[in-house]
Amino acid sequence: MRLRTFLAAGAVASVALAGAAQAEDMTIVSWGGAYSASQMNAYHKPYMEMNPDVNIINDESAAEAVAKLRAMAEAGNTTWDVVDVVASDAIRLCDEGLAMEIDVDSMLAAAPDGTPASKDFGDFLVTPCFIPQIVYSTTFGYRTDMVGDTPPKDVCAVFDLENYPGKRSLEKRPINNMEWALMCDGVAMEDIYDQLATEEGQARAFAKLDTIKEHVVWWSAGADTPQLLADGEIVIGSTYNGRLFKLIEEDKQPVAMLWDGQVFDLDGWIVPANLSDERKKRALHYLNFATDTQRLADQAKYISYGPARASSAPLVGKHATLGIDMAPHMPNEPSNMSNTLLYNYEFWADYRDDIDAKFQTWLAK
């Protein structure tokens, strides 16, 4: 009898707790590490102060977000409210009907001068489901003590074994590497994707990559290249610009940044499709706040990724703890942008499976 009362009381209590938790918890999925910390400082904390009835739970599984969102949708139980994904994943989620379409102008804040959000984000609105947040780039860092008196000036130093002998690191996927290979094989910037769409162009890119294949360490986690550079395993390697910023400015390693040939990519928010009206409303209320001009500029105080709104750029200030000016470390700072590519979402959505199969076969041979 006593056991039964105990169980009943427990059941009532847990139902009550679950009810209470559902009323205020909002799960936001992101990448973890310094990136999640920057969002916590710039978005979550001020938002929770203004809305004490909302409790933001930070989930760090953005790396598997696409697969998990699909699994959740199939199970009919989506537990996430807002998800941070890269733009190419947002396009796939949108294609699969797993992310909700956002009407940018009616749902998001306008710029302080009244420019509507759709104009403020401009070309960065690559799919109707995606709210851009930051611009990051994949670019190269090199060991200053291993390149002699002639530090590399352009991205083709990666393919120059004569002047820069030693290992280099590249990401274990075709995206970006194929572009760099063609770029350094003499293909003009605007012809790269036309070339890559043909068998000959792909073969040409692989032939260029073949010249350094034996000297490449292939990475799959963003932390790999910084570690390899810090340990002196490689001379030069590609990674995200924020990782290199940390390595150079915070960890004070003998590494320098090579902005030439950087490939821009976008990271931002999506809202899962099929949320209940109440949760949808809450998620949009949060996003309206977290993606306004000031908030995007605030994030740059904590991490060296550029705000995706044009109106945020003039507001970028100093790093919160290091006290250095952040503008020169932004990938979309004009002086860093002399030779850049924007990730071609349309192209890679089509060719990703095809070229990836060839790339993996090429790697294995």
Partner: protein
């Protein structure tokens, strides 16, 4: 007893029924009760393990999305002869137009695009683009020309052939892809040389798994032997050392190997310091097969040592002493008396390590570079990155089949009864 039965018929229980019947009834009740006791576990396993796995594996042949999204087009394409190399007639374009109007309203066309893009590059953007314009098309006009205007691929018979080839509710496409083949115009054909990867990866996975299993056995056997023969107190201390890796995060252990094995790492530094290796000839021990073998052998070693140890503990030391007292040398006593009794432990450990390593992916991903990755790395890629769950499921089915066949072979050759975990 047997005599008595023959003479006086069935023995009766106290309530007058035949004893056999009564016993069977009691046993049945007992069985039911036992079943009821394990029912929660059984239901749990069925619901949380068998059902999802079956569902996942079923995706390797499932293709309902094409006939569901384009029902009219699929029906209209039935009469079209793909081998003629001509475009289908206007009625097919009209059917496609109708289907797409419905699909766009339900936002199903882009999903279909992702599905067909696995078979023909470019269909994803083709359907995305067509979906944006389909509402503005004129129904009475020349639809074939209007579609061709949206995208030239609609004027390419190959696009239509792809739709027709993958128009049934079930497909062999994923399985063919998983064995480096595809459905072409003339039936099943091999993929071009520069796209053949999966069979190669299956072979590599099996080969490396065997190497890892043998390495675990060679290192683990002496350790288990030592543990089993030392006095209890000392062996308990050593046991903790064996178990310690179990309590450390897998990622920590894998990263530790990076620090040790890389070219500027501890081992290479030491070798250079004592002069065994020249400074410019540092050994490449990580980001290749060597790295995978070393790190995985370390990680899976406890799975070999523990079954070996528990079997060896049950071998009485007196057998070895008896053999020696009868004149056997140390080696003969070990090889003829001790080793055969430890074989069940070897079997159990080898099966555990082999099956675990065949499905491993996180360690090969981190330390395997390009020559040390497994088929499971590709499965993980297709599950979490390319979202091609059909192909991932097909690869998973094949891997499961390979394991079952090996298990069956093992049972035939060594006998599964010979496996003991303790």
């Amino acid at each position: 007893m047997a005599n008595g039965e023959n003479v006086s018929g069935p023995i009766l229980a106290a309530d007058g029924r035949p004893l056999k019947q009564s016993l069977a009834r009691a046993l049945r009740l007992q069985k039911l009760r036992a079943l009821a006791l394990i029912a929660p576990l059984l239901i749990f396993v069925l619901v949380s393990f068998v059902a999802p796995i079956t569902d996942m594996l079923f995706r390797s042949v499932e293709n309902a999305i094409v006939p569901d999204t384009l029902p009219l087009t699929v029906a209209a394409l039935e009469d079209w002869d793909e081998s003629a190399g001509k475009l289908p007639g206007e009625e097919v374009f009209a059917a496609l137009h109708q289907d797409l109007l419905v699909a766009v309203a339900a936002k199903a066309h882009t999903k279909l695009g992702s599905r067909l893009n696995y078979e023909q590059t470019g269909v994803a953007s083709l359907l995305r683009k067509t979906g944006r314009r389909v509402k503005r098309m004129e129904e009475d006009g020349d639809l074939a020309a209007q579609f061709a205007k949206i995208h030239k691929s609609w004027a390419d018979p190959e696009t239509w052939a792809t739709i027709k080839r993958f128009s049934s509710a079930y497909t062999s496409g994923y399985f063919l892809n998983a064995v480096d083949a595809k459905l072409g115009a003339t039936g099943i054909e091999a993929r071009p040389e520069n796209e053949r990867i999966y069979i190669f990866l299956f072979e590599r996975t099996l080969l490396l798994s065997v190497v890892i299993t043998v390495a675990c056995l060679l290192i683990g056997y002496p350790v288990a032997f030592l543990l089993a023969t030392l006095p209890m107190r000392t062996s308990n201390m050593l046991m903790i050392l064996v178990l310690l890796p179990f309590w450390t995060s897998l990622l920590v252990r894998t990263s530790a190997w990076k620090v040790l094995l890389q070219q500027q790492g501890v081992i290479n530094d030491t070798l250079v310091f004592i002069g065994l290796v020249a400074n410019d000839g540092r050994l490449a021990m990580i980001n290749n097969q060597t790295g995978t073998i070393i790190a995985m052998t370390h990680i899976l070693l406890p799975f070999m040592i523990l079954p070996l140890y528990s079997v060896m503990r049950t071998i009485p030391p007196s057998y070895m002493r008896a053999a020696k007292s009868l004149g056997a040398t140390d080696w003969t006593a070990f090889w003829r008396v001790y080793f055969p009794q430890s074989v069940p432990g070897i079997g159990a450990g080898a099966i555990l390590v082999f099956i675990l390593s065949i499905g491993y992916y996180i360690t090969p991903e981190l330390v395997g570079g390009t020559s040390g990755t497994f088929i499971s790395n590709r499965i993980a890629y297709h599950i979490s990155s390319s979202l091609n769950w059909g192909l991932a499921a097909a690869l998973g089915v094949i891997l499961l089949m390979v394991v079952l066949v090996l298990y069956w072979l093992y049972d035939r050759i060594i006998g599964i009864d010979n496996v003991k975990l303790g």
